[in-house]
């Protein structure tokens, strides 16, 4: 598996650290209820198909990425810098 780092280009999976679903970028706002926080902290989808994950290019440039990939076909569809995805 190779991930297209926007900074480094296509790189081997070994250089990356997987940090789960990109829900971490969608922090609930002030006053959000317990349900929102429960979902944010604990609950994760387990999709068969397209998913958005956070990956850290740990051994490479050090950037956090949001990678879109397909869990059924294993296709890696795109990767963007997390700082841009979070805007």
């Amino acid at each position: 598996m190779r991930l297209p780092c926007p900074i480094c280009g296509e790189r081997d999976r070994r250089e990356f650290y997987y940090a789960g679903h990109a829900v971490a970028l969608e922090r609930p706002g002030e006053g959000a209820g317990a349900k929102a926080w429960d979902d944010y902290v604990h609950n994760r989808e387990n999709p068969c198909g397209e998913t958005r994950d956070l990956w850290f290019h740990e051994s490479g440039c050090g950037a956090w990425l949001v990678v879109t990939r397909d869990t059924a076909s294993h296709a890696v569809l795109s990767a963007v810098l997390a700082e841009e995805a979070a805007r």
Binding site: I7, C8, E10, R11, D12, E15, H57, S59, G60, G62
Partner: protein
């Protein structure tokens, strides 16, 4: 206090030659990690040009030479090599002296790339990773910086504490490649 003698990271282990590939330790001199403050990229690049006549490198590239140059070193980071940073730089970037933190090895030989391919996942073919290209990657599971400085020459840097492990790993890879080539 007794007399202290500075020891280089590869002291006693290099230069050496394994399977026709030369390994030499490189003394890069002053190494400064330069990390521009948010929004200060252009100002820093200008200060580098004005103060040192060096350009800020694009991602995955180096400018100047390994004796005096700037090596891309990660997202919004570059390593200033062989130059004491002037006053002008610290206004625009955080600077960290890393002169003694790295062990640097020059690897030269026709089979250098083949041996390195056993240790790192980076695609080292010349069409992809040409002269002046640099990558932060892992080499035998160690955090590393790898730069192609010539057609068959690489500069490889790892943390100084890993110098002995690096020599061991390079030796194993180079011997393996040499044996396979002799068959």
């Amino acid at each position: 206090m007794g007399e202290l003698t500075a020891q280089s990271p590869m002291d006693g282990m290099m230069p050496t030659r394994i399977g026709g590939v030369a390994l030499r330790e490189v003394d890069l001199g002053a190494l400064t990690l330069v990390m521009p403050y948010r929004g200060a990229d252009d100002a820093l690049s200008g200060a580098l040009e004005a103060g040192h006549g060096l350009r800020w490198p694009d991602a995955g590239r180096m400018t100047g030479t390994t004796e005096r140059g700037v090596m891309w070193f990660g997202r919004t980071q570059a390593l200033l090599i062989g130059v004491e940073p002037g006053e002008g730089l610290s206004v625009h970037a955080a600077l960290v002296d890393q002169s003694d933190a790295w062990a640097a090895v020059e690897i030269e030989g026709d089979r250098a790339a083949e041996a390195l391919a056993r240790l790192t996942p980076v695609d080292l073919r010349t069409g992809v990773f040409g002269v002046g290209h640099t990558a932060r990657t892992e080499v035998a599971h160690m955090a590393a910086s790898l730069t192609r400085t010539g057609e068959a020459t690489f500069l490889l840097m790892v943390f100084r504490a890993f110098s002995r492990t690096l020599v061991h790993e390079l030796g194993t890879a180079l011997e393996g490649v040499a044996v396979r080539a002799a068959r």
